[in-house]
C-alpha cells in the first residue's frame, strides 16, 4: 500500500477537460481586435551580401501597414549563449549579409495573411552571392569562407546582466570556430597505458526536428499609454523570453506581460527566443497595433531550431574483463550559421553521461563550427541522444570484440550510489543498476542475445542519465499558495504546460501535503504579473525545481494552518493532522475545524492575515552561476534521473527494413507523482527514439533543407508503434519533492542505442550513422556480404 493518498495515483490531467473539448487556448488560437498578421521574407541563398532591399512596391499594396528590414532592427543581438567570452550574435533580421537559407530578410505586417504574403512577393532584394561552406571540417580549413567577422556586443551580455563580474569582449571566430570545450579528469595517457584493449570508432548523427504539433507563433500587443507589451507565445520558461524581449526591445522587464497559453508541444524546440518573436515585439511597438505571426511548417523546419548535428570520435581503453580505464571523446558540432546552443550541447553530451558509468580517466574535446546552414538547439536530451548512440554502440562493439556480454559490461562499470562525480555532483539516488537488470530480464536477454541471427532478429541495450534542472541563472522557481474562503487552495506558479503534466503533478504534490483532494487545488493560469519567478520548465527541472517550489509553498501553508488550528482546537501543533480539508486532533478526531473556519478565524484574530504559503527552490543551491561549459568544472545538478532501454528488432534482409518488435524502458524518476503522466513520457520517448533510430533526418543539399514537411520528413505514426513495456525503477532522491526527479528526457537516448545495438545483434552490421534507413541498411548488408 502506498503511504500517500494522492501522490503516486494515476489521476486525470487538470488541463484534460479543456483540451479534450477544444476549449484550451493555445497561442495559435489567440485573436485580438484589430490584429495585424505578419509574414517573413526568407533568404533563398546560403551566403550572400545584401546590396539593396526595395520595399516600395510592397508598401503601396493596400492593407500593408508596416515593413521592416535589417536597417530597422540593426544592432539588436541575442542568443541562448551570451557570455563575456562568447557574446550573442543572432539578429532578428539579417543586416549586411545572409548566412543561411531561411534567414529573415524582411517582415511585412498587413490586415490579413493573404495581403502579407502578396507583399512578400513585391519586395526586391538584390543579393551578391558569396562562397558558402556546408561541411564543418571544410569550414575549419584555412581559406574557407568566413561566416562571421568579429562579433562585438554594443551592450552588456546576458551574463553581465545576471551578475557575472566579467566584461564582455569581442570574439573573432578563427576558421569558423564558434566555441570549444576541453574537459578532462584523471590521466588518460596513464589510463590507456593500463588498458588491455583499445578501440576507436566514429559516428555521425544528423539534425532532426522537434516537430512539436503547434507551429511556432506569437501574438504581441503594445499599449502605448501604459507602455506595456502583452505577449502570448510558445515558451518553456516565460522568464527567459521575457528577459530577451526586454533586452532587445528596450522595454523594462516588469512592463512585459507574458500571458498564459497552452503550448502545443516543445521538446526543447521552443525554449530559446526567436527572430520572429523579437520582430513581432518590435512591430507592435512601432505601430501600436496587435500583431500575430504564425510560422508555416516549412519555416519551422528551415528557420527554427533543429537538433544538433554531431560527428563523434570515441576511443576507449578497457581491461580484459571489460573494466573501462580511459576514454577520449572528440565531437565536432556542425553549428550552422549562428552558434545557438552548440557550446552547451558539447558540454551536456559529456556531463549527462558522466553519472552513468565510471570511466576513470576521461578527456572530452568539442568544437562547434559555423556553416551556412540553419542552426540548432536542444532536443529532448540536448546532445545526450547523439553521444549515447555513439558511446553505447561503441561499448557494444568492444563487447563483441572481447566476447563480453554487453549487459555484464554495463553492470561492471557502474558508478555507486553516494559517489561524488569529478565536478562535485553527488549521486544521492541511483536507480540505473536496477534499470539495466530489469530491461534485460524483460526483453529476455539471456535467452535471446546472439541467438536469433538466423531469424534476422536481435536484442540490444542502451542507457542514459539526465539532470533535474541546472544552474542557468536564475534557474529557480517560486510558488504562492492562497488559502481560499471555501478552504480550497489556489497555486500561483509560472510553469507552463506543454504536455508534461505540470498542472496536475504540482497540484497532486500540494494536495498531498495539505490533505486535500486534487479538485481542491486550482492551478492559476494567470500571467507574468502574478507568477512568481520561474525558470524551471526547461533543462528537465520541472518536477524537481518547479514541483519542489510547490512542495515548499505547501509545507509553508501547512505550518501556518496547523498553528492556527492549534489555537482554535487548543491542542499542540504536533498532535494535529490535516485531512479532507480539515485540521483534526490525532488523539480526539472529534476535535476538528475546517480550513474555511481556520481562514475566517485567522483574518478575524490576526490582523487580517488570509494565510498564504510561499515556497521556492533553486536547481543547485551551492552555486551562483552556470558551471564552466568550456572546462566542465563546477556543480551541474542536484539530482540525476536515469533510464535503460532494451529493444528487439527484426531486419528484412531483402528490403533493408527494420521492424521494432518490442521496446522496454526502465526509468528512475525518483518517484512517479502521476504514473499516467510518467508512463506517457516513457511511451513518448520510446516512440521518438525509434523515429530517431530508423527514419528521422533533416536532409540538406547546398544548405537547402530538402524535406521540410511531414510527408518527406517522416515521424512515427500509430501503425509504427511496437509493443512497449515501461518499468518503474525509481530510487527516491532526498532532495526531490516526495523523491521525484527528471522523467521527460532521459529515456529517448537509451532507446536509440538499444535499437542500434539490436540491429547489430540481428545482422552483424554495425551502424555508425543515424537513421538506419532501409537504403543504408541494404548498403551495409551488401558491404558485409562482399567482405565475407
Amino acid at each position: 500500500m502506498s503511504e500517500f493518498s494522492i501522490v503516486g495515483k494515476h489521476v486525470r490531467r487538470k488541463d484534460g477537460l479543456l483540451k479534450i473539448t477544444g476549449q484550451a487556448k493555445y497561442t495559435f488560437d489567440v485573436v485580438l481586435p484589430g490584429m495585424l498578421h505578419g509574414k517573413l521574407l526568407r533568404s533563398p541563398l546560403p551566403h550572400a551580401k545584401i546590396l539593396n532591399i526595395d520595399t516600395s512596391k510592397a508598401a503601396k499594396l493596400p492593407g500593408v501597414e508596416l515593413i521592416l528590414t535589417g536597417k530597422d532592427t540593426k544592432g539588436i543581438r541575442y542568443g541562448f549563449v551570451d557570455t563575456p567570452n562568447h557574446p550573442a550574435e543572432e539578429r532578428p533580421i539579417a543586416e549586411e549579409k545572409v548566412r543561411f537559407i531561411g534567414e529573415t530578410v524582411a517582415a511585412v505586417f498587413a490586415d490579413d495573411i493573404d495581403i502579407a504574403e502578396e507583399a512578400l512577393d513585391l519586395i526586391d532584394v538584390d543579393y551578391d552571392p558569396l562562397p558558402a561552406v556546408f561541411d564543418p571540417e571544410e569550414a575549419m580549413k584555412d581559406g574557407a569562407p568566413q561566416i562571421h567577422d568579429t562579433i562585438t556586443r554594443d551592450t552588456s551580455c546576458a551574463w553581465e546582466d545576471w551578475g557575472v563580474a566579467r566584461k564582455t569582449h569581442s570574439y573573432t571566430p578563427m576558421n569558423n570556430v564558434a566555441a570549444r570545450v576541453f574537459i578532462g579528469y584523471g590521466d588518460i595517457d596513464k589510463g590507456f597505458a593500463e588498458a588491455d584493449y583499445i578501440r576507436e570508432d566514429r559516428f555521425k548523427i544528423p539534425a532532426t526536428s522537434h516537430m512539436a504539433m503547434e507551429p511556432h507563433c506569437i501574438v504581441a500587443s503594445w499599449n502605448p499609454f501604459e507602455e506595456r507589451l502583452d505577449v502570448w507565445l510558445n515558451h518553456m520558461a516565460f522568464e527567459l523570453k521575457r528577459y530577451w524581449l526586454h533586452k532587445t526591445l528596450g522595454i523594462p522587464i516588469s512592463k512585459i506581460v507574458v500571458h498564459h497559453a497552452y503550448i502545443g508541444g516543445a521538446f526543447g524546440g521552443k525554449a530559446p527566443v526567436f527572430d520572429f518573436e523579437i520582430i513581432a515585439g518590435f512591430a507592435t511597438k512601432r505601430i501600436c497595433k496587435p500583431v500575430k505571426i504564425v510560422l508555416t511548417r516549412e519555416e519551422v523546419f528551415s528557420s527554427c531550431r533543429n537538433s544538433h548535428r554531431f560527428d563523434i570520435t570515441i576511443k576507449t581503453g578497457v581491461k580484459k574483463d571489460g573494466t573501462i580505464v580511459a576514454q577520449h571523446t572528440k565531437v565536432i558540432v556542425d553549428a550552422g550559421a549562428y552558434k545557438g546552443s552548440a557550446p552547451v550541447a558539447m558540454f551536456f553530451c559529456h556531463a549527462v553521461g558522466d553519472p552513468c558509468l565510471d570511466r576513470k580517466n576521461v578527456r572530452h574535446e568539442g568544437v562547434a563550427v559555423y556553416t551556412n546552414k540553419n542552426f540548432n538547439f536542444a532536443r529532448r536530451g540536448h546532445g545526450s541522444p547523439q553521444m549515447r548512440f555513439a558511446t553505447d554502440s561503441h561499448y557494444d562493439q568492444i563487447c563483441e570484440d572481447l566476447g563480453i556480454d554487453p549487459v555484464e559490461f554495463l553492470l561492471k562499470n557502474l558508478r555507486k550510489k553516494g559517489d561524488v562525480l569529478p565536478n562535485g555532483d553527488r549521486l544521492n539516488s541511483y536507480g540505473l543498476p536496477e534499470c539495466i537488470r530489469r530491461v534485460a530480464e524483460e526483453i529476455g536477454w539471456k535467452e535471446k542475445r546472439g541467438k536469433q541471427r538466423n531469424m534476422n532478429r536481435g536484442v540490444g541495450v542502451g542507457i542514459n542519465g539526465m539532470f533535474s534542472g541546472s544552474a542557468y541563472w536564475p534557474f529557480s522557481c517560486a510558488a504562492i499558495l492562497k488559502l481560499e474562503h471555501d478552504g480550497k487552495v489556489a497555486l500561483l506558479h509560472g510553469d507552463c504546460e506543454f504536455g508534461q503534466g505540470a498542472e496536475t503533478s504540482y497540484s497532486q504534490i500540494v494536495a498531498e501535503v495539505l490533505g486535500l483532494s486534487l479538485e481542491d487545488v486550482t492551478y492559476v493560469r494567470g500571467n507574468s504579473d502574478v507568477w512568481p519567478t520561474n525558470y524551471s520548465n526547461f533543462l528537465s527541472g520541472g518536477i524537481f525545481v518547479g514541483g519542489g517550489a510547490a512542495y515548499n509553498a505547501a509545507i509553508d501553508l501547512r505550518e501556518k494552518i496547523v498553528k492556527v488550528a492549534s489555537e482554535i482546537l487548543r491542542v499542540m501543533p504536533e498532535e494535529i493532522e490535516l485531512k479532507e480539508g480539515k485540521a483534526v486532533s490525532k488523539k480526539d478526531p472529534r476535535r476538528s475545524c475546517t480550513f474555511a473556519e481556520i481562514k475566517r478565524y485567522n483574518i478575524q484574530k490576526h490582523m487580517g492575515d488570509p494565510l498564504i504559503g510561499f515556497g521556492y527552490k533553486k536547481a543547485v543551491p551551492e552555486i551562483e552561476f552556470y558551471p564552466s561549459l568550456s572546462k566542465g568544472t563546477g556543480r551541474f545538478t542536484d539530482a540525476y534521473g536515469f533510464a535503460a532501454a532494451a529493444a528487439e528488432v527484426e531486419v528484412d534482409k531483402d528490403t533493408g527494413r527494420t521492424k521494432v518488435l518490442k521496446i522496454v524502458v526502465a526509468h528512475d524518476c525518483g518517484r512517479e507523482i502521476n504514473p499516467g503522466t510518467v508512463v506517457g513520457q516513457m511511451y513518448s520517448q520510446a516512440v521518438q527514439g525509434m523515429g530517431d533510430a530508423l527514419f528521422e533526418e533533416i536532409m540538406d543539399e547546398s544548405g537547402r533543407i530538402m524535406n521540410p514537411n511531414l510527408i518527406d520528413y517522416e515521424i512515427p505514426r500509430a501503425f509504427d508503434v511496437p509493443e512497449i513495456v515501461v518499468i518503474d525503477c525509481s530510487d527516491p532522491d532526498p532532495n526531490g519533492p516526495f523523491g521525484a526527479k527528471e522523467a521527460g528526457e532521459c529515456a529517448r537516448a537509451a532507446v536509440i542505442s538499444a535499437i542500434a545495438n539490436a540491429i547489430y545483434d540481428a545482422t552483424g552490421v554495425r551502424v555508425n550513422r543515424l537513421p538506419v534507413t532501409p537504403e543504408r541498411m541494404l548498403n551495409l548488408l551488401r558491404a558485409k556480404d562482399k567482405d565475407q
Binding site: I20, G22, K60, R297, G499, Q500, G501, I711, I724
Partner: protein, 174 residues
C-alpha cells in the same frame, strides 16, 4: 506605380455546423479549416502541417472524418459538419471516447487531441468491432509527437470493448 490587389468575389455558403445552420458569404479560396476557425471562431480544430499530412484539423462532414485544411469551405455546401466543440452535449456530458481519452491519459500537449477524437469518433461509427490493428491503421493519419500513441490506442480499444458490452447487455434486456 499603382499596386492593386485582385478583387475576389465572395460566394454564398449554406452549411450546418454543430447543429446550427449558417448562410454566409465566403471567399472561394477559404478552406473549411479557416472558415471554422476564423469565421465561426471554432478554434478547437487545429492546424499543424498545412499540407494534409498530420490530421490535427480533422472534423466530421456528414459521417466521414475529413481533414479540413485540405478542403474548401464551398466544397461542403449543404453538408453537416461536426467539430470538437459539437461533441459534448450542451449540459457538458462528454462522449465515451472523450472520457476514455481522459482516463487513459491519452494526450499530453493536447494539440492533436481534437483531431484524434474526431477521427476515432468517425471510425467507431463506421466499424463497430475493430481490432487493434484496424485502429492503428485508421489512426495513422493523425500524427502525435507527445504520446507515442499507445495510450490513445488503449483508450479506443477500451471504448470498443465497453460499447460491445453495453450492446450485449441491451440485447439481453430485450
Amino acid at each position: 506605380m499603382e499596386v492593386q490587389r485582385k478583387a475576389v468575389q465572395k460566394k454564398l455558403l449554406k452549411i450546418r455546423v454543430n447543429g446550427k445552420d449558417y448562410e454566409v458569404m465566403v471567399k472561394p479560396n477559404r478552406t473549411l479549416l479557416d472558415f471554422l476557425r476564423q469565421d465561426l471562431g471554432l478554434t478547437g480544430t487545429k492546424q499543424a502541417c498545412m499540407d494534409n499530412s498530420c490530421g490535427a484539423c480533422t472534423v466530421i462532414v456528414d459521417k466521414m472524418a475529413v481533414k479540413s485544411c485540405n478542403i474548401l469551405a464551398l466544397q461542403v455546401y449543404g453538408r453537416e459538419v461536426t467539430t470538437i466543440e459539437g461533441l459534448a452535449s450542451p449540459d457538458g456530458k462528454l462522449t465515451d471516447l472523450q472520457e476514455a481519452f481522459l482516463d487513459f491519459n491519452a494526450f499530453q500537449c493536447g494539440f492533436c487531441a481534437p483531431g484524434k477524437v474526431m477521427s476515432a469518433t468517425a471510425m467507431l461509427e463506421e466499424m463497430e468491432d475493430p481490432t487493434e490493428e484496424d485502429v492503428r491503421r485508421d489512426m495513422e493519419g493523425n500524427l502525435c509527437r507527445c504520446t507515442g500513441y499507445k495510450q490513445y490506442i488503449d483508450a479506443i480499444m477500451y471504448v470498443v470493448k465497453k460499447r460491445k458490452e453495453l450492446k450485449q447487455q441491451k440485447a439481453k434486456e430485450v
